[in-house]
Amino acid sequence: MVLAGSNGSGKTTLLRIAAGLYKPSRGKIEVYGLDPQRERLECRRALSMISHQAYLYDRLTAIETLRIWARLLDRPSADSDLMPLLASVGLERRPRLQVAGFSAGMRKRLTLLRTRLEQPRLLLLDEPFSALDVEGKRQVEDWIRDAREAGAAVIMASHAILRVSRLCDRAVLLERGQIVWRGDGEGLARRLGEQA
């Protein structure tokens, strides 16, 4: 499902409430029957969030970052397990380079690997296509399709309407915190094309 809407319409807020980072001032939210505020850890085990912040440490290398994530998640953390992951996004070539020297696109790709490790049931994506070149955007599209195939649900907030309309079953348009329209991906492209 895609959340569309202008800046400030509430897309990011909604995603962050689902992740338990914001407390809703009114109403209730349930993620797989869990309350993100009361059952934080269980909720977060089921989901993975990608947002504007990269959540990276400048002085670590890519492999070190992955290793720490893998160990924290109790997943296999040997180099033989992690190198293929790095290779899949093209980050295996400069093993000694610290994150501080990464381009924005490289940071994004490393962050996406985190969700690969987390293997969530629910993906919350806030502008997943930003800061990526054409190849990177294509990779993210493929990756979202793979995730859906594996059975995960995806909620994505994005401005990239055309690209997203191909990917999504459902779409919701937000304005100032309210839902003003629901439909599917094509309908969204049409509606926003009409309004342009």
Binding site: G10, L14, G27, A153, L174
Partner: protein
């Protein structure tokens, strides 16, 4: 609501009245202490201030724990009120203790165990109030106030024992414990009086805090209403 405040105001007035009565007894009726004379009469406010300051801080601790547990904003308002009133009493007792020390030992400060502990206590809780003033988000402010209050309160007995051991290596002069029966009445009267005034002040402060909070929340930006249902693809 107004009825409750009216009830508390009665307590406040009662407290003021009792304070006058108790002070009359303390200043004019009770006998002068054998060695210290008239100056000793400052005890009639000093000791009750100390007792009720501790009561206020303990109340703040209890409110903080309840507030963390159930997250309702009125407990933060009560915690704040209790800390502020406690801090005022704390400051008063330090001044009174200092005056007493000057009159008795000739020095403004003599590292008396309880007075030194009170000074640290005041700094601890003043710090909590300072922390509050830097946090804009009301939820976070409430949570952090509660956390800091609990941490500060647990420290008080530790500081007391520490200072006591530290002092026990040197001389042990401190305020006299033995009180003759004629002195007990004004002490108790004043203690109850100050307690009632404190309750009244805390209730007022809590009400003020809740109103401030209400005004803050009116200005908050739009919230998201979601009727969304997402199931696995």
């Amino acid at each position: 609501m107004t009825r409750r405040i009216f009830g508390v105001r009665t307590l406040g007035l009662l407290g003021l009245g009792l304070l006058l009565v108790g002070s009359y007894f303390g200043l004019f009726v009770a006998p002068a202490e054998r060695y210290m004379g008239q100056v000793q009469r400052i005890m009639y406010v000093h000791v009750p201030c100390a007792w009720i300051a501790m009561v206020c801080y303990t109340a703040a601790f209890v409110f903080a724990v309840i507030g963390l547990w159930n997250g309702k904003p009125r407990w933060d308002a009560r915690t704040t009120g209790a800390i502020e009133v406690g801090a005022v009493l704390n400051a008063l007792l330090l001044v009174q203790g200092s005056i007493w020390a000057r009159a008795t030992w000739g020095v403004w400060w003599d590292w008396d165990v309880r007075l030194t502990t009170s000074l640290v206590m005041l700094l601890l809780f003043a710090g909590v109030l300072a922390l509050r003033s830097f946090v804009d988000d009301s939820d976070r402010r409430a949570t952090w106030t509660a956390v800091a209050t609990i941490v500060a309160f647990v420290d008080v007995p530790l500081v007391y024992f520490c200072v006591r051991w530290w002092r026990s290596l040197h001389q042990t002069q401190s305020t006299p414990e033995t009180v003759s029966p004629a002195m007990v009445l004004p002490l108790r009267l004043n203690a109850i009086a100050i307690l009632l005034i404190a309750i009244w002040l805390i209730a007022q402060r809590a009400k003020l805090e809740r109103e401030r909070l209400r005004k803050e929340q009116v200005d908050e930006p739009a919230r998201v209403t979601a009727g969304l249902e997402v199931t696995d693809a």
